[in-house]
């Protein structure tokens, strides 16, 4: 029912690539599909309209008709326009000339500000910065307590004022950070509607009182058409310096990222990618653009793998893979490492469309993992190295030994083959990923 945006674009572009030359009608046909895909991805209607018009203006005309590889030109233009909107470089967090640098987190109710305050705090602490969290959400029940619990978890101080007025709490919090000689002070403000006049005025007061270097809009990645209204209003009232996209670990196609960037011009600086506090990363605009175009976020995947994986083990697996000696031992090591990295579905979502599709049968959960491990442990070393020798009677023996069924053993062997195939693709993908080249030879 729902085909992914990248799958759709790949399909469109595959058709385009099948032709030698492009007519105006071809371009329009392709752009109709692009438009539809973008709308399904929740990119704002007006942003899409503008985008399509710009691509069309560039695509229909000399550039395409006189080009020897017209299909590639269209893809290139779509990608370039996408990158133009999203921006190229990763945006850094600004610092004040005189510390502390004040960062204000603002946004709608439920967008994830408090959790993001904890995540950003942890991120800065890991870089050796001194951070103070300020609990300025005095509206939602237990919001202050929530930030206190998070602060305790990550070992950061939390300023809880005695004042009932959020402006005063922020002012005191910033002063407190100054006294303690800290680098950053993060203000967790209450969620509010952008049309709530009184509460928007309150944010303006806070801004005037503490002069933040950063005012970041915390926005839910699953936001629909309204993302433009929200971002525009917050930007007009406060002058946003950037945005943080939360819940990007959902299966949203993330059109809101494009919308927010398009209407405010402010860069998206970070992304929240999980409920754990360390699941927070610098936002890479060009990777999102590439992901939309069907390249998959291979670079992010590799980076995440590098951060969590046991490097030595990973290298061994890779070497085996290259020499075509990938064994069930390696498979087990990988499963163990993957379990450390987090939900498998999330990793899948980062892969290019076609690859993820082929892997849908490979999902596993914790319970299944225990079975997989038991099965592999019940094999002889020789069987693990050369799975092809595992015949019917060996399968029965392994099933008995691991307390599973022959079907489960069969499935594991299938998954092993799938995994081997994937690992090969992934090493190839990472090669063009590093070289900054596209799979379709741009």
């Amino acid at each position: 029912m729902f085909s992914s945006l990248s799958e759709r674009l790949q399909e469109i572009f595959r058709r385009l690539r099948g032709k030698g030359r492009l007519s105006e009608a071809d371009v329009d046909a392709a752009l109709r599909e692009v438009r539809l895909a973008f709308l399904e991805a929740d990119v704002n209607y007006l942003v899409v309209k503008d985008f399509i018009a710009r691509v069309r203006a560039r695509a229909v005309g000399k550039e395409i008709l006189e080009s020897l590889t017209p299909a590639q030109q269209v893809i290139k233009i779509v990608h370039e326009e996408l990158t133009t909107i999203m921006g190229r470089a990763e945006a850094k967090l600004d610092r004040a000339a005189v510390p502390p640098s004040t960062v204000m987190l603002v946004g709608l109710q439920g967008s994830g500000k408090t959790t993001t305050a904890g995540k950003l705090g942890l991120y800065l602490r890991k870089q050796g910065r001194g951070v103070l969290l300020v609990a300025a959400d005095l509206r939602r029940p237990a919001a202050v307590k929530q930030l206190q619990v998070l602060g305790e978890d990550i070992g950061l101080p939390v300023y809880v004022g005695t004042a009932r007025d959020p402006v005063a709490v922020c002012r005191e919090g910033v002063a407190e950070a100054g006294r303690r000689g800290l680098d950053y002070v993060l203000l967790d403000t209450a969620g509010r509607l952008h049309v709530d006049e009184e509460l928007m005025a309150e944010l303006e007061e806070i801004k005037a009182a503490v002069r933040p270097v950063e005012i970041l809009l915390v926005a839910d990645a699953m936001t629909g058409q309204d993302a433009v209204n929200v971002a525009k209003t917050f930007h007009e009232r406060l002058g946003l310096t950037g945005a943080i996209l939360t819940k990007l670990d959902s299966d949203t196609r993330g059109g809101a990222a494009l919308s927010i960037r398009a209407v405010t011009g402010a860069p998206i600086k970070f992304a929240g990618v999980g409920e754990k506090l360390e699941q927070f990363e610098v936002f890479h605009p060009e990777r999102i653009a590439a992901r939309i175009l069907g390249m998959g976020d291979v670079l992010s995947l590799i980076e995440q793998a590098q951060r969590t994986l046991d490097q030595k083990k990973a290298r061994t697996v890779l070497t085996h893979l290259r020499r075509d000696e990938y064994t069930l031992e390696d498979f087990l090591t990988q499963l163990q490492e993957m379990r450390k990295m987090g939900p498998f579905d999330q990793l899948l979502a980062m892969l290019p469309g076609g690859m993820a599709k082929g892997l849908k049968g490979l999902r596993f959960d914790e319970k299944e993992f225990v079975h997989l491990e038991a099965i592999i442990r019940s094999m002889t070393p020789d069987e693990r190295r050369r799975p092809q020798i595992i015949d019917g009677s060996r399968r029965r023996r392994i099933a008995r030994g691991s307390g599973t069924t022959v079907q489960q053993v069969n499935r594991l062997l299938q998954q092993f083959e799938e995994s081997k195939r994937l690992m090969r693709q992934l090493t190839e993908a990472s090669r063009f990923g590093r070289g900054g080249r596209f799979p379709f030879g741009l």
């Binding site: 439920g110 237990a142 929530q146 509607l193 699953m222 629909g224 819940k247 670990d249 299966d251 959960d365």
Partner: protein, 309 residues
């Protein structure tokens, strides 16, 4: 159930909300009507209106297709007539899929589920407040043991409302909390139970499995009560709401949805897509952060507010 008072009816609030938006749905409609005549451009603009309300491309295309058929069949030319025809089409979608939910009913266990931050805890509190007012014995169960201070949040509401809250410590097994909640309801003779669960994305297999377990425990302890799983959706959400509905329905057998934050500028057009594509009806709407800001979803009012009838 009657929780829509005329003065603060959500229809009025919703319409106010819509008026506030610069690109509100009313304005373009009014402009469309001023044009008076029905032509290709009229349909293009109508499409823009629907898409910007989060109705989604598939349902928008379907509605426009039906409208064009009627234009051809009945030779409609007046824009005003056409607007009514569109409202009728949307209402037809809603009436084929109505929510069967009565907040004033007794003997119901509500399981409140949804992704992070959509308004589950607030909705649970609003529902409990309504039941209290109706004189129904209600118990709240804090089965979000994951998010920091989630238990305290529900307890704060419970204390304000004078409603008992069953809780365990942070990190406890949510199924165990649900189990105790139902046992407490039995022992103390509460008629209704509302179980607040942790926000979880519909893409997390392990968290969905946890929810399945909560559902199983609740089903086993119903003791003659009826289970009603409610999916809370944020009106600001785009087409991803459809994925959420699909997955959660499979996991907890969701009977109806609650659409929150309709007091913002999001039009909530995804409600139309939900009935059209998933067959999930909206039962309640949230129109503010206050305890009273919960309304019954009335399709006629929603369509009227959306199309400015």
């Amino acid at each position: 159930m009657n929780i829509a008072s005329p003065s603060t009816g959500w229809f009025a609030r919703l319409r106010d909300g819509l008026r506030r938006t610069k690109e509100g749905i009313l304005r373009p409609f009014e402009e469309l009507l001023r044009r008076g005549k029905v032509d290709e451009e009229f349909f293009a603009e109508l499409e823009a209106v629907l898409l910007q309300a989060d109705v989604g491309p598939a349902t928008t295309e379907k509605l426009l297709g039906r409208l064009k058929e009627r234009v051809a069949r009945e030779r409609l030319v007046e824009a005003e007539v056409l607007k009514e025809a569109l409202a009728t089409e949307v209402l037809a979608l809603f009436s084929s899929c109505r929510a069967d939910l009565d907040l004033s009913a007794r003997g119901v266990v509500y399981l409140v589920v949804g992704v992070n931050g959509v308004g589950k805890t607030t909705t649970a509190a609003k529902m409990a407040a309504h039941m209290r007012k109706e004189g129904i014995g209600v118990l709240l169960v804090a089965a979000d043991t994951f998010r920091a201070a989630a238990i305290e949040q529900l307890e704060t509401w419970g204390a304000r409302l004078g409603v008992e809250v069953i809780r365990h410590g942070p990190g406890a097994d949510p199924a165990a909390v649900a189990f105790d909640g139902l046992a407490a309801a039995r022992a103390r003779g509460y008629e209704n139970v509302i179980v607040d669960t942790a926000g979880r994305l519909h893409t997390k297999a392990n968290l969905l499995e946890e929810l399945r377990k909560v559902r199983r425990v609740v089903e086993a302890g119903l003791d003659g009560r009826r289970l009603c799983s409610l999916l809370v959706l944020d009106a600001t959400t785009g087409q991803n709401a459809l994925h959420q509905a699909q997955v959660f329905r499979e996991v907890v057998g969701t009977g109806a949805a609650v659409l929150t934050k309709l007091d913002g500028t999001a039009k909530g057009g995804v409600a139309i897509a939900l009935v059209d594509r998933i067959g999930l009806p909206i039962a309640l709407v949230g129109v503010g952060e206050g305890i009273e800001d919960l309304r019954e979803f009335v399709p006629e009012e929603f369509v009227a507010a959306l199309f400015g009838a």
